[in-house]
Symmetry: C2
Subunit: 438 residues, 2 copies
C-alpha cells in the first residue's frame, strides 16, 4: 500500500502535477474510508485538496486531531537518484522514494494504526479528526484559512502531527519546542543615484559600506545579537532544560561533515545544541549593493539591501522583534543615510508544548515502551507554523511525533524510510491514541 501511495508524484509546487495531487488526495480519502472512517470529505476551495475525516465514537471521549500532509518536494536533480523517485525501491530494509520519510510513510501509519485499533477494540478510544493537507511543502497557504473558517468543525482536545523526526534510529525523542520567526528587509540609500568613485569616493557615504556597518552592528564580538532589547522576552533555559539538552549526543565531527563547515560559531556561553534549539538568532539571509559583474567598476553605490530573519524562542514576539530592529536601524544610521525596514510576511511565534501536557507525557510513555529507553528531549531551530496555527485557532497543544530520521535525505535525492520504522510508527500511534483515551 505504501509503495502504491509513493508512486503518485504529488509534487505540490509544480502545476503539471495538479492531477496527481487530486489523485493522491483521493487515495488518502479512499484509504480512510477503507479503514472505517465514516465521514471523509475533500475540500478544494483553498488550493490542493484538504482531506478531512471524522470518526466520532462517543460524546464523552476526548477528540484528537491527527495532522499530516500528502504532498512531497520536487525530485530534481533526477540524475542523483539511484532509483527513480516515484518508483519506490526496497534496499537494505529501507524504502527509497520521494516522500517516503516526508511524510507518506508516517501519514499511512496513522491510518493503519486507527484501522488496527478499531478492529482490535471494536471501537476507538477517542474521537478522531483527520486533517491531511496537500500544501505543506509550499508553506500551507490554504490550510490556515481553512482552519480559521472551520474552527468549530475542527474543535478538539489535542493534536498529533505525524510530520516529525526522531533524533536517530536508536534514539527516540520528544520534540518540545520550535522556534518562531520574524523576517524583514532593510533598504538603505545614501545618494539620489550611483556616483563615480573617482569623483566622489572620498566625500560621500557609500551604501555598500553603510550596509556592511549596519549588518555588522547586529552582533557583538561574543556572537550575541546586539539589537537592544532582543533578549528581554527570552525565557532563560532552566538547569533542567540545559541538562536535557546536554543529554542529547552531539558529534562535532559528524556535524562538520554534514554541514560542510570547518568550525562552529555562534553565541558565547551556550553549547551548539543550545544555540541551535533554544537560543534566538538573527540570520542575515542576503546582502547586496552596487556592482556584481565581471571585472571592476568604479562606482560608489547609492543603494544597499539586506534580508534578515530572526529565529525566536519563548516568549519573544515577532512584531516586537521587528519594532526593535527598526529602532536599531534608526539609531545606527549616520547622517546622510536613509534606511527603511520592510516587514515580511511569514512571521510566527515560537511554540513550546507545556512539559506537563498529558499528551506529551503519554507520548513519552509510548516511546519508553517501544524502545525500552528514556526518550531524548529535543527541539528544532526551524519553525513548524502549523502547531502555532492549531494553538491560536483551536486553542490546543500539538504533539509532533514521526519517524523521519536526520539523515533520511528529505528534500534531497534518495530519500528513504525504514520498513521497521513503518511498523514502529503504527504501534506508536495506536498506543498513543489508547493512552489519550485512558
Amino acid at each position: 500500500e505504501l509503495l502504491e501511495f509513493l508512486r503518485i508524484p504529488s509534487v505540490s509546487t509544480l502545476s503539471e502535477h495538479r492531477q496527481d495531487m487530486v489523485e493522491a488526495a483521493e487515495w488518502v480519502a479512499a484509504r480512510l474510508q477503507r479503514a472505517g472512517v465514516p465521514e471523509v470529505n475533500l475540500h478544494s476551495d483553498d488550493g490542493h485538496p484538504i482531506v478531512l475525516g471524522r470518526w466520532h465514537v462517543a460524546d464523552g471521549k476526548p477528540t484528537v486531531l491527527i495532522y499530516g500532509h500528502y504532498d512531497v518536494q520536487p525530485s530534481d536533480p533526477l540524475e542523483l537518484w539511484k532509483t527513480p523517485p516515484f518508483e519506490p525501491t526496497i534496499r537494505d530494509e529501507r524504502i527509497y522514494a520521494r516522500g517516503a520519510s516526508d511524510m507518506k510513510g508516517n501519514l499511512l501509519a496513522t491510518i493503519v494504526a486507527v484501522e488496527a485499533l478499531a478492529a482490535d477494540l471494536g471501537t476507538l478510544p477517542v474521537n478522531l479528526i483527520f486533517l491531511y493537507e496537500g500544501e505543506e511543502e509550499i508553506g500551507s497557504p490554504g490550510l490556515q484559512a481553512f482552519v480559521a473558517r472551520n474552527r468549530e468543525r475542527l474543535a478538539c482536545d489535542v493534536a498529533i502531527s505525524a510530520d516529525g523526526v526522531m533524533y536517530g534510529v536508536d534514539a527516540p525523542s520528544l520534540l518540545v519546542g520550535v522556534k518562531g520567526m520574524a523576517a524583514c528587509q532593510i533598504d538603505l540609500r545614501t545618494a539620489a543615484g550611483d556616483l563615480h568613485s573617482g569623483l566622489h569616493g572620498g566625500t560621500v557615504r557609500n551604501a555598500a559600506r553603510e550596509i556592511a556597518h549596519l549588518v555588522a552592528s547586529f552582533h557583538d564580538a561574543d556572537g550575541r545579537v546586539a539589537v537592544e532589547g532582543f533578549y528581554d522576552q527570552v525565557r532563560d533555559l532552566t538547569e533542567e532544560e540545559r541538562a536535557e539538552i546536554a543529554a542529547v549526543p552531539f558529534d562535532e565531527a559528524i556535524y562538520f561533515q554534514q554541514a560542510g563547515v570547518e568550525a562552529l560559531a555562534g553565541e558565547a556561553g551556550y553549547s551548539p545544541l543550545e544555540r541551535l534549539w533554544a537560543r534566538p538568532t538573527a540570520d542575515v539571509n542576503g546582502i547586496w549593493s552596487g556592482f556584481q559583474g565581471e571585472g571592476a567598476k568604479t562606482v560608489t553605490p547609492s543603494q544597499a539591501h539586506a534580508k534578515i530573519t530572526c529565529r525566536l524562542v519563548a516568549d519573544q514576539d515577532p512584531v516586537n522583534i521587528l519594532d526593535l530592529i527598526e529602532r536599531h536601524v534608526a539609531v545606527h544610521c549616520p547622517p546622510g543615510v536613509t534606511a527603511t525596514v520592510r516587514r515580511r510576511a511569514g512571521g510566527s511565534r515560537p511554540y513550546a508544548i507545556p512539559r506537563d501536557n498529558d499528551a506529551l507525557k503519554a507520548a513519552g510513555q509510548v516511546l519508553r515502551g517501544l524502545y525500552d529507553k528514556e526518550p531524548l528531549v529535543t527541539r528544532v531551530g526551524g519553525s513548524i507554523p502549523i502547531v502555532e496555527v492549531f494553538k491560536r485557532q483551536l486553542a490546543v497543544e500539538t504533539v509532533v511525533i514521526g519517524w523521519s530520521m536526520p539523515d533520511s535525505q528529505i528534500h534531497a535525492p534518495n530519500e528513504w524510510f525504514r520498513i521497521e520504522d513503518f511498523r514502529i510508527a503504527q504501534r506508536a500511534y495506536a498506543s498513543l491514541l489508547e493512552a489519550l483515551g485512558a
Copy 2:
C-alpha cells in the same frame, strides 16, 4: 568645422559605429593635413584607428606631443536630449552635441591653434607629434600597446593632453595630480554549500555576516582606511599644497545638489576637496551574498563577495596596496572562513606633475594672461591612465589642459561646449606652444 566633426557619431563602444569611427579618424587626419602637418598616418592594428601626425620643423627645437581622442560616449537615453546628440545645435552661445565638450571641441582647437601659429610665424616654435586615439571612452585598450611599440617614434620632451576640465567658466585651473588605482575582488566561503538557517543558523558562520564584518573592518570610526600600512607611502600634503586647495572655492550646497547627497563623509581631519583630490580612499564598489529575490528565504549563505577599488596618491604603489589588502583579509578572517583576494586588471600609479615643471609653469602663465587672474591649482580624484603611460613609456610629464566644464554634461544628455571656450582654447594652445618653444 566643429559642427561637421560633431555630426559624425563616433561612439567607440558600439560596433554599429565602426564605420563612423573610421570616418571620424579620416576627418581628423584630413584636418591635420589641411593645417599643414606634413606626415599624417592612420594606425588600425590595435582597434579603432589611431591618428598620428608629425611636424618636425628643426632639430634643435623641443618636441611636444599633443594628445586627444575623437571617440565619444554613447548618447542614450536619447529621449532626454532637447536636440539630437549628433545634430549639433547652438543655443545661448553654447554648442549642444555629444562629444562637444569631451572632447571634439578641444581636439579641433589644438589643430586650429597649430595652423594659426604656423600661418602667423611662418614656421612652428616646436616640433610636434599629434596622437589622437579613438578608444579613450572604452579604456584605451589599443593605445598602451601602440605607445609601447612606438617609443622612439613618439619620443618627445613634454606632452599636452587636451582632454581636460577647467574648474569653472571664470575659474581657470591647473591640474597637478591624478590618483592611481588598485582593484580587487574578495571571495569568501564559510561552508560547502548554503545551509538552512533554521537547522544551522545558530552554530555556523554566515558568509553574509562575515563579508559585512570584513568590509566594515576596512575603515575606522574616523573614516580612515584601517588596512595596516595603507598610508605608509602617502606623501603628506605640505602647508603650501593645503593652502592651494583651500584657495579653491567649494560650495557644499551646490555639491550636495550635484551629487544628490544630504551629508558629507570621509576621512576626518581633511577638507572635502583634500579628501577628493589628495587623500587615498578604499571604495567598496559592490557587495553581495545569499538571497536577493522577493520575499524571505531562510538560508545561511556560504559564499560572499566584495569588490574594492582603492584610489591612490603619491607614492602609493598599486601592487603594494593589494599586498596589504591581502594581508588585512587574512588577518581578519576568523577560523572556518576562507577568503581570497583576486587582483583585477586596471591598476595604475598615481601621477603628479612636478610643480617646477616648465610646461606646467608655462601653462600657468598662459592662463594668467588669458583670464587676468591667478589659476587655481586642482587635482582629480579619478585616474587618467594615459598620463601614467606617457610617464612610464616615454619618460615625459604631461600638462593636462582643456575647456570642459564641471557641469558640461559630459557622458550625459545635452552635453555642451561654450563657443567662447572654443576661442579661448585655440588662443591658449597657441600661446602654450609658443612658450614651450621659447
